[in-house]
């Protein structure tokens, strides 16, 4: 208001009537502070358009080309997508990604909720416990993945040794190369690494539920389970939605766990879209096909992004 007042005073003074109407017109059209504002957002527009917008459009056009690294590309229409859909590997990757994401996100939600509820109690050393339980999440994923690769190691790995000694297994397990086990072994690491993020968000959500609601439900004679179902869960709905949406996007797009623990093997049984896109485009040198792999997963991704974005915008406006 203040600036507007000052500037319109200037605009109304006699010496600015030359060219005044036109500038006022622009001002009405583009907003009161358009000159300074466009100057200030210019650098971010450069990043958004040049480094995100343009590459995104280029990803689409690349997916319609046969483009080897350093070679001449030529337009092939939807051939890349057509051959992907006929490829058993694509369908296997699709199945793996779905399984990996649903299991990962589901288990992180459940385990994160259990630990949030435990830490929400008045425990001794709660702050320290929270900090400790948060460590896996703050360490670079590549480090997390290598620690587990060492734990899973066939011959010298500690997991096989301990389980064998405890008579839980009667022979050493090939955690990351047994077809039946590999995806589960990777999911375990994903859950181990990602649970802290869920736990912290659920804890924050739990703390925002007013104590009176629990007291009221107790007066009504609700059991612990009933008050969880009728007070805790409704109070956590928005946190639950945002966290699972964001985490679904992040989990399904994270290639480090698979890349480091199994490289997608054995025989692509743990291949997921991010690793397939990487192996096709960079070591395989087929940029066009790689872009098609990444984009073939995009319709699903786009709907998640739109949903999550809406919730985040709503949260910001509230």
């Amino acid at each position: 208001m203040t600036t507007g007042g000052r500037e319109s005073m200037v605009a109304a003074s006699p010496e600015s009537t030359i060219g005044g109407p036109r500038r006022r017109g622009l001002k009405r059209l583009l907003g009161r502070d358009y000159q300074l504002a466009y100057l200030m957002i210019a650098p971010s527009l450069l990043v958004l358009l040049g480094l995100i917008g343009f590459p995104f459009v280029r990803a689409i056009s690349l997916s319609l080309e046969s483009q080897p690294i350093g070679g001449e590309g030529h337009f092939v229409g939807f051939d890349n997508f057509a051959s992907l859909l006929q490829d058993k590997l694509w369908w296997l990757t699709f199945k793996n990604t779905l399984f990996y994401t649903v299991m990962g996100v589901g288990l992180k939600t459940v385990v994160g909720m259990v630990f949030a509820l435990i830490l929400h109690q008045k425990l001794k050393g709660r702050t320290a416990l929270r900090a400790l339980l948060f460590v896996p999440w703050s360490v670079p994923i590549v480090v997390d993945a290598f620690v587990w690769r060492w734990i899973y190691s066939d011959l010298n790995g500690i997991l096989n040794f301990v389980l064998y000694r405890l008579h839980i297994i009667d022979q050493y397990v090939l955690w990351t190369s047994d077809p039946k086990i590999v995806l589960w072994a990777i999911i375990a690491v994903v859950v181990w690494q990602g649970t802290p993020f869920y736990m912290m968000n659920f804890l924050a959500g739990l703390q925002s539920i007013p104590e009176e609601q629990y007291e009221a439900s107790k007066i009504d004679g609700a059991s612990a389970l009933q008050s969880f179902r009728h007070v805790t869960l409704p109070g956590l709905t928005s946190v639950l939605i945002v966290v699972t949406l964001l985490s679904t996007i992040w989990t399904s797009n994270e290639l480090q766990f698979v890349y480091i623990l199994s490289s997608g093997g054995p025989a692509h049984l743990s291949e997921i879209f991010p690793t397939l896109a990487f192996f096709t485009s960079i070591p395989g040198r087929e940029l066009g096909m790689g872009a098609a792999v990444a984009l073939s997963f995009f319709p699903l991704m786009a709907s998640l992004i739109v949903l999550a974005g809406r919730f985040m915008l709503r949260g910001a406006e509230a």
């Binding site: 203040t2 600036t3 583009l30 907003g31 009161r32 502070d33 358009y34 300074l36 504002a37 200030m40 957002i41 650098p43 971010s44 527009l45 990043v47 958004l48 995100i52 590459p55 630990f115 509820l117 435990i118 109690q121 929270r130 900090a131 400790l132 339980l133 948060f134 460590v135 896996p136 703050s138 670079p140 994923i141 590549v142 480090v143 620690v147 060492w150 010298n156 040794f161 181990w192 802290p196 912290m200 968000n201 924050a204 925002s208 928005s238 946190v239 945002v242 964001l246 992040w250 797009n253 290639l255 480090q256 940029l287 872009a291 990444a294 992004i305 985040m312 915008l313 949260g315 910001a316």
Partner: protein
Amino acid sequence: MNGSKSIQRSRWHFFSRPVLAIGLLWTLFPFYWLASTALKPNDDMYRPEPLLVPQRLTLDHFQKVLFDSHFPEYFRNSTVIAISTTVLSLFVGILAAYAIVRLDFKGKNLLARVLIFSYLVPPVLLFIPLFELIYKFDMLNSLQGLTFAYLTFTVPFTTWLLMGYFRTVPVDLEEAAMVDGCNRVSALLHITLPLSAPAIVVTALFSFTLSWNEFLYALTFTSDAASKTVTVGLASTVAEDVFFWGVMMAASVLIAIPPVVLYLLGQRWVVSGLTAGAVKA
């Protein structure tokens, strides 16, 4: 009623203590194993019966990482990239966030929307065209190339977080300053920025750790020791040595220290930060 409440409570405690203990063991054992491997001599590491408690400790692996490997270069590269990404994205983010929150111009709601959606666009969709772009500008294996790539996630994130904080700075203060003859830019510099200092520090911590931990872009855009970052450097160590686990774990400890320290410092803000304020405590 009081009785049933305490029964419920004790039943819950009865259940929760062992679960918490298992959870702590599961969470922390890998880090114990990481540290003890880093400190164990090779002779004690590759034996049929691994030692749960190391009998002898050695700093050999750390010595190898620090004085007889490419890791010092990787550390330098990661530090340079993470700091330049942070500084650049703060500059870009502060200007854009201020304009969106305080100034009146056409398209600002659209810009806010585009920012949040681009924060959510996963790197897996962008790394191939970015590779092509960086290749054409002859910036593969360069720290600049990676810094540009990292701006794709730090700029939307930084701007979005700062928008949230700028909204909480009372607009009256700026208006008072402008009545006293300050212009917009000096109001931003002298009023809003100092008042948002804690937020800017936290945003910087985030942007530094996100860049430090990044893997896919670094894996795609760098291939020589002079430009690799710590994360990709670690992944490429595997091929170099048969008995590499000691060195790997020693390097892992060193790589993990900066982000862990930063997160412990900024823990209070981590939750609201990562969902970019979508989840309110």
